[in-house]
């Protein structure tokens, strides 16, 4: 019935509708009002019936009121008076009789059905046909800063959806009865519902719907690996590209912020119980928000002089503007969360001391200890860990030197070791601070790159070179012990082992060197031992991460909870938030019983 011309038929598109017999148009325009006008028979009486001419809007006016569930006897062309009721087709949704009209999409005429039952989709396609049309609307791309310009500034790369693009993308959602996307989200945001609200142009309502489960939507919309989470499970994705859930989330969160629609809730049931949160990263902020909204008195202790944890010191401005992080934190301040900066828990105050003053403690300090490969030359000057490099650049604003007093590590030739998002962040920061040649060295092939595809794509656009299937074996220094080159060896992927993973194996005598002024090691991170030095009873696994009860997130010390990277090792922002949510629920449950 439909062919591929239908792909041009977009939701909210104005429909040109015609009688299949006399080919007269049903479209009527009076001043600015656009309508489809029909004659109908209801309970033996002739009435006027007016429909909205947009595919995705189901508005109806009749000259006589028609109750929900009642069915029209007939629908007729006002020009030729012929009955439009189809003899062959019934409504795919409710089985009632349907009227048959034709619409034009470009040069094609397409059969179109109008269900005669009030409350059903009065005009539209059967569900199956609607699904087929949606499959034809391509996934919408976000406009972004041109690559030739953006490598000279630190401003955010994607501009975000316009209202039109967001509506079009929201129209692609199938509104599945058993959606899988919600399962893919670690904090179970009601994705179909927020998209439904978007389709009704209720962007504020959509933002509020997301915030019921996720306190940091503007951040998650930007940095979550949606392709592995909600979008990875999207049912539309089985046959087509999945709905761009992350981009929609970002759009509504930005809309709410820009339109100043954020409302500070009134907290009614204040509790005298006190909660300490160690670390102001995404997990800590989630616990703080959840507990504050439940009425607890919450204090967050941050070791650095700025809040946000990895969101502030780790992720660069061009990927996550710090003003957004600040805005989300201000919301927490408004709901009564207290923040203490420059407090290193483990040295200044111990966990034990915190327990003297607080009913529960949540540890969300992340995994901030740099890991090095252990090869010769790592102690040469200008061999940086990604943590140090990004902290200097993002937190200390070294790229604004001398306005900020942290000198910027700058070199013409930069080598970044590793293939994750952190490696991409380092490489893209280097190119923005004047480096002319930036090379990423990664041991495996392109397929195995752990970074998000979008980040790899942006890095390549910005001129970053990828030396794949290669691994450093040593750093070579000058006479004054400054790195001048990285010696690498070529690798090949061996046979799959028992775990199904192909391990990189060095190729004999394939050594080569890459000259560099700076080398940045971005191969992963580990747990910082500061807290454990004064809390030896905190049970940890062999990697040094804290062991917790997986349901409650409680540690081996009663009333001390932990979550995020300090429990799992490096993971995602939303996973840390999921752990924070689980801990907040468990803390509330336990404290409510006391």
């Amino acid at each position: 019935m439909f062919d591929q011309d239908v792909k041009y038929l977009k939701f909210k598109t104005y429909l040109n509708t015609y009688c299949p017999y006399c080919h007269q148009s049903f479209n009527v325009e009076k001043k600015d009002v656009k309508q489809l006008v029909f004659k109908a028979i209801f309970k033996g009486q002739e009435i006027d019936l007016v429909l909205s001419p947009y595919l995705d809007v189901f508005e109806i006016e009749t000259s006589v009121p028609i109750g929900e569930g009642e069915v029209l006897d007939d629908l007729m062309c006002p020009a030729c008076q012929k009955s439009l009721v189809s003899q062959d087709t019934k409504c795919g949704e409710c089985g009632s009789p349907v009227a048959h009209v034709i619409i034009s999409a470009l040069s094609r005429l397409i059969p179109f059905f109008i269900c005669l039952k009030r409350g059903c989709e009065w005009h539209g396609l059967t569900k199956a046909d609607e699904r087929r049309i949606k499959l034809k609307i391509p996934r919408q791309e976000m406009p972004e800063q041109d690559q030739t310009l953006r490598i000279h500034n630190h401003q955010e790369v994607p501009y975000g959806f316009t209202t039109e693009l967001a509506s079009l993308e929201a129209g692609r959602c199938l509104q599945c009865k058993n959606p899988k996307c919600v399962e893919g989200c670690p904090v179970n945001v009601d994705i179909p519902e927020f998209i439904k609200l978007m389709r009704e142009d209720d962007f504020d309502g959509a933002a509020k719907k997301i915030k019921e489960r996720n306190v940091l939507p503007a951040i998650c919309g930007r940095v979550c690996p949606q392709e592995d989470q909600c979008e990875g499970k999207c049912i539309l994705g089985h046959k087509d590209s999945p709905v761009a859930i992350g981009r929609l989330e970002r759009f509504v969160a930005d809309f709410e912020r820009k339109m100043d629609l954020v409302k500070i809730p009134v907290i009614k049931n204040k509790s005298s119980k006190r909660i300490a949160v160690v670390g102001s990263g995404p997990g800590g902020l989630t616990v703080a928000a959840d507990m504050a909204l439940l009425g607890y008195s919450v204090t967050v202790f941050e070791a650095l002089h700025e809040l946000g944890g990895v969101l502030t010191y780790g992720i660069p401005e061009f990927r996550l503007p710090k003003s957004i992080v600040q805005f989300e934190i201000n919301y927490l301040k408004e709901i009564g969360v207290r923040f203490e900066l420059n407090h290193i828990i483990g040295t200044l105050i111990t966990i034990e001391e915190l327990l003297d003053h607080f009913d529960s403690v949540y540890i969300g300090v992340g995994a901030g200890l740099p890991v090095f490969m252990g090869i010769p030359g790592e102690s040469l000057g200008y061999v940086f860990s990604a943590n140090e490099y990004l902290t200097r650049m993002n937190l200390m604003k070294a790229y604004k030197f001398p306005e900020y007093d942290t000198p910027m590590p700058r070199g013409n030739k930069v080598v970044v070791i590793g293939g994750g998002n952190v490696a991409m962040d380092c490489a893209r920061t280097a190119i923005r601070t004047g480096s002319t040649e930036v090379t990423i060295v990664y041991r495996r092939s392109r397929q195995e790159l752990p970074a998000r595809k979008e980040e790899v794509h942006h890095a390549e656009q910005e001129g970053i070179k990828f030396k794949l299937l290669a691994s450093p074996v040593k750093y070579i220094g000058t006479d004054s012990n400054i790195v001048k080159a990285v010696e690498c060896i070529k690798m090949e992927l061996g046979e799959s082992d028992e775990s199904g993973r192909r391990r990189p194996v060095p190729i004999n005598d394939s050594d080569f060197t890459i000259e560099c002024d700076i080398a940045i090691v971005a191969i992963g991170t580990g747990p910082n031992p500061i807290i454990f030095n004064t809390t030896p009873d905190l049970k940890r696994n062999k990697w040094g991460y804290i062991e917790v009860n997986e349901e409650t997130m409680e540690t081996s010390i009663p009333n001390v909870y932990a979550g995020g990277d300090i429990v799992t090792g490096s993971a995602t922002v939303i996973q840390a938030m999921g752990a924070g949510r689980a801990a907040a629920n468990a803390i509330h449950k336990k404290l409510s019983l006391k």
């Binding site: 890991v371 490969m373 252990g374 090869i375 010769p376 790592e378 070791i417 590793g418 293939g419 994750g420 952190v422 490696a423 990664y442 041991r443 752990p450 691994s471 074996v473 040593k474 060896i489 061996g494 046979e495 082992d497 775990s499 993973r501 391990r503 990189p504 194996v505 060095p506 971005a522 191969i523 992963g524 580990g526 049970k539 940890r540 696994n541 062999k542 990697w543 040094g544 090792g569 490096s570």
Partner: protein
């Protein structure tokens, strides 16, 4: 250098080497301050104990074979700087230590196989070398998986 004239000489030597490894890790377990690391070294010593048990079985039954399967060599230990033992050792350092010990044992048996007076002894040395190379691979995979996570 120790002379090996019979299969039993070789097996006795290998068994005492494995016992040496068991003792080494047991002592290290007593030395480290962190409970999790203590457990790691106890686990390593138990693994060495299993290797020893396997050799004792060979000695008792007199049956052994060399597998034709090539053991993958990730060569991670070839490039990593050696570490010293200390009470504050991390798991990463423990893995480097273990990899290097297995690599030394592998090299030893490989050298001995080249100097073996007859094929029977040569094959036994090769089998021992292959075993050590398997043990090294187990530590290298762990290092590959958990230390070089984003590399």
């Amino acid at each position: 250098m120790k002379e090996f004239s019979t299969v039993n000489d070789i097996l006795d030597f290998a068994i005492s080497n494995e016992q040496g490894a068991v003792d080494f890790y047991t002592q290290l377990a007593a030395k480290v301050s962190n409970d999790a690391m203590k457990n790691i070294f106890i686990q390593f010593s138990q693994e060495e104990m299993k290797h020893k048990a396997k050799l004792l079985e060979i000695k008792e039954k007199g049956i052994y074979s060399i597998s034709s399967v090539q053991i993958t060599d990730l060569k991670i230990s070839d490039y990593i700087v050696k570490v010293e033992t200390s009470p504050q050792m991390t798991y990463q350092e423990a893995l480097v230590l273990a990899m290097n010990r297995e690599k030394s044992a592998f090299k030893l048996y490989l050298n001995l196989s080249q100097k073996a007076p007859n094929d029977e002894l040569k094959n036994l040395f090769l089998m021992m070398a292959q075993e050590e190379s398997k043990h090294k691979l187990r530590f290298e995979i762990e290092y590959d998986e958990y230390v070089l996570t984003e590399n």
